[in-house]
């Protein structure tokens, strides 16, 4: 019984990280109908930003940890805006395939730049927040795992608040319904799109820092696999749907952990992609998504 509970916690902790990264994918898709494949590498840059910031900030306390987290989020928000301006804006209005391929190109560029600048060797990520293991019965939860839940929850609600209850959020939603109409009612599309990317990239950075806090080995290619799994999580929950990203992330984390617990550890990555294929075959709008009919 305790083993089951422990595996449940392992799965939810893993899932919370996927959920955080998936939020970024889903938000950009929701507003722009575009899958930002460079998201996983912004996640990596966030982790490295945290690594270098942690050296600058005298650390160990909760406050310094939060400072590093916010610093990395700010850096990646800026990176997201720059990527959007240089790589995606010039292609506005072109076919989605063109922008998709560009996104893959940006992803490869970031990975290889990372390898050039940081070197390909894995680095040890310092502990930003005080680490503690909590023993409840026979089950162990690490403070790093609790942190992931806490931060993911806070960011989830913050994002929801921004999207539903602020002017910027309303503008984002208007843009997602109809870009032309949005610009006609006075919304500055360029600014809103930049803001969307900044927000998504900040979330990626938070995901990167929390991932690195739990698995303290970072390298320039670290974003590839978690990014792909978070993408699957977003699709699983319903891409474009914030609650869907959270649900999909947790679900995928649990599925992966259960598969590994039952001896299929060599299939842990394959499972994520099997889930992707299944969901696209059976319910492509995702578990929490609504099937939108094309009205002619």
């Amino acid at each position: 019984m305790t083993e089951l509970l422990q595996q449940l916690i392992n799965g939810l902790a893993l899932g919370a990280i996927y959920a955080l990264i998936a939020l970024g994918y889903t938000m950009v898709y929701g507003v722009l109908r575009f899958i930002n494949f460079a998201h996983s590498d912004v996640f990596m840059v966030g982790a490295f930003a945290g690594y270098f910031l942690a050296r600058a900030v005298p650390g160990g306390s909760a406050l310094s940890g939060i400072a590093v987290l916010l610093g990395a989020m700010a850096i990646c928000a800026l990176l997201g805006v720059i990527i959007e301006k240089l790589a995606y804006r010039p292609l506005r209005g072109r076919s989605t395939l063109t922008v998709l391929i560009t996104a893959i190109g940006v992803s490869l560029l970031l990975q290889n730049l990372g390898q050039r600048i940081f070197g390909a060797n894995p680095r040890s990520f310092p502990s930003l927040f005080p680490v503690h293991q909590f023993h409840l019965g026979g089950v162990v939860i690490s403070s790093a795992q609790i942190l992931v839940f806490a931060v993911a929850l806070v960011l989830l609600f913050a994002l929801r608040h921004i999207v539903l209850h602020t002017r910027v959020g309303t503008a984002m939603r208007a843009l997602s319904f109809n870009p032309v109409a949005a610009s006609l009612v006075g919304i500055n599309n360029d600014r809103i799109i930049s803001f969307t990317f900044a927000l998504g990239s900040a979330l990626a950075a938070a995901g990167g820092i929390l991932y690195a806090s739990n698995y303290p080995s970072i390298d320039p290619l670290m974003g590839t696999l978690p990014g792909m799994k978070a993408f699957v999580a977003a699709v699983l929950g319903g891409i474009g749907n914030i609650a869907g990203a959270a649900f999909g992330g947790l679900a995928l984390g649990l599925i992966e952990t259960i598969v590994v617990a039952f001896g299929g550890s060599t299939y842990r990555d394959a499972v994520a992609f099997a889930v992707l294929i299944l969901i696209l075959l059976l319910r492509p709008e995702g578990l929490l998504g609504k099937r939108t009919a094309e009205k002619v």
């Binding site: 083993e3 595996q7 392992n10 080995s217 952990t257 001896g263 842990r268």
Partner: protein
């Protein structure tokens, strides 16, 4: 020029600047030289192995050249970085053998990457000397493939003996990497020896090298209540595994093989998590053997006080064994050089006396290292 054309030109210039080659180089000397090739993981997941063995190799080449070279000619080391990536080693070997025309090729530490190159070295009739690949399959490829270290049947057996006699364990869990031939092989030999010695294997779980999260598998292991856990993997993964095991409240001893040997192990796992951990390896810098001491002193002098590890010592010995064979053969032609290497007997090296047996493997002693207060500490020696 119009704007799009300027942009394209800038992009092309940027690409040209960024398109450098990976780390490579050659130690050249004027006049006729003996070219020796080396492929190593200087960057990437097993970077520590490649850097260490390369530093040992370089030290040996410089020492030999300072003493006049071999057969009157200087040794020229042509080396390339395989970035710990599968596939790269073979590309490098083809370049070294076909383009640079090396007379022998040194590499690698990781058995998987040695196995990648061995068939090609064999068919090209170029001797390959691996400094520290321990999987027995490496030398089985052919008679042009050699190694200067012990092999995993011995390592597996000694670890089984260590677990039984020193750790006093009766129930062991095995946690191995399916992606690395070294890990699969060492795990298998350990299991055979352990079961033959009457021990109980309560859990056998797998992971894939490069994974970051091991909590699910470690929870399964924890539930099986072993007295000790054997992790025959590479240091980057082992570091995370040990840290996560300790975080999950697993306090039993954890041990493994020479894949653990890296200063990064302490950084990745965190010194506070590396309690009750042990691993076997080929060499300890605190060895009292005079040749080992001479090597340690020379290494420290060249590399600013850095203490050499087993991979460095074996890298050094791989060159020394090759040079000794060239001297005995009197030539670098095949098959004379191959025969001379195969006839290596009682050669004194930094890692002990090296004799190559009929399978071209060396029979050497192993040392067990433990970690105390964030430092590696010699525990005991196990003779073959």
């Amino acid at each position: 020029m119009r704007r799009p054309q300027i942009r394209i030109l800038m992009a092309v210039a940027a690409v040209a600047v960024l398109a450098g080659c990976s780390k490579s180089g050659g130690e050249a000397a004027a006049g006729a030289t003996i070219k020796v090739g080396e492929f190593a993981s200087l960057t990437g997941k097993e970077a520590t192995f490649g850097v260490s063995s390369h530093e040992g190799t370089l030290l040996a080449v410089e020492e030999l050249n300072a003493a006049g070279g071999v057969l009157g000619k200087k040794l020229e080391l042509v080396y390339e970085d395989n970035r710990s990536t599968p596939g790269e080693s073979l590309t490098i070997a083809k370049k070294l053998i076909n383009n640079d025309k090396v007379i022998a090729i040194l590499g690698e530490v990781a058995s998987g990457r040695s196995l990648e190159v061995a068939p090609f070295a064999q068919s090209s009739r170029v001797p390959q000397i691996s400094p520290s690949s321990t999987n027995p399959d490496v030398t089985k490829i052919g008679d042009y493939i050699f190694r200067v270290c012990f092999i995993d049947p011995f390592q597996g057996k000694l670890l089984a003996g260590f677990a039984k006699n020193t750790l006093k364990a009766q129930k062991v869990a095995l946690f191995s990497d399916v992606a690395a031939p070294y890990s699969v092989g060492l795990g298998k030999f350990f299991k055979e020896a352990w079961l033959a010695g009457g021990g109980e294997l309560v859990s056998e779980v797998k992971y894939t090298g490069g994974d970051k999260d091991f909590k699910a598998q470690l929870t399964v292991i924890k539930n099986a209540k072993p007295d000790a856990i054997m992790v025959p993997g590479y240091y980057t993964d082992v570091g995370l595994i040990v840290a996560q095991a300790r975080q999950l409240g697993i306090t039993v001893p954890m041990f493994g093989g020479d894949g653990w040997e890296a200063p990064e192990l302490i950084q990745i796992a965190g010194a506070e998590n590396l309690v009750n951990t042990y691993y076997s390896t080929h060499f300890s810098p605190s060895s009292t053997d005079p040749l080992a001491q001479k090597f340690v002193a020379a290494y420290k002098a060249k590399y600013s006080g850095k203490v050499p590890d087993a991979m460095a010592a074996l890298g050094y010995d791989s060159v020394m064994v090759l040079a000794d064979a060239i001297k005995r053969a009197g030539t670098t032609d095949e098959p004379k050089l191959r025969d001379a290497i195969a006839a290596t007997k009682d050669f004194p090296g930094a890692t002990g006396i090296t004799t190559l047996d009929a399978n071209r493997d060396a029979s050497k002693s192993a040392v067990i290292i433990t970690v105390k207060d964030g430092k590696f500490q010699y525990l005991e020696t196990v003779a073959p």
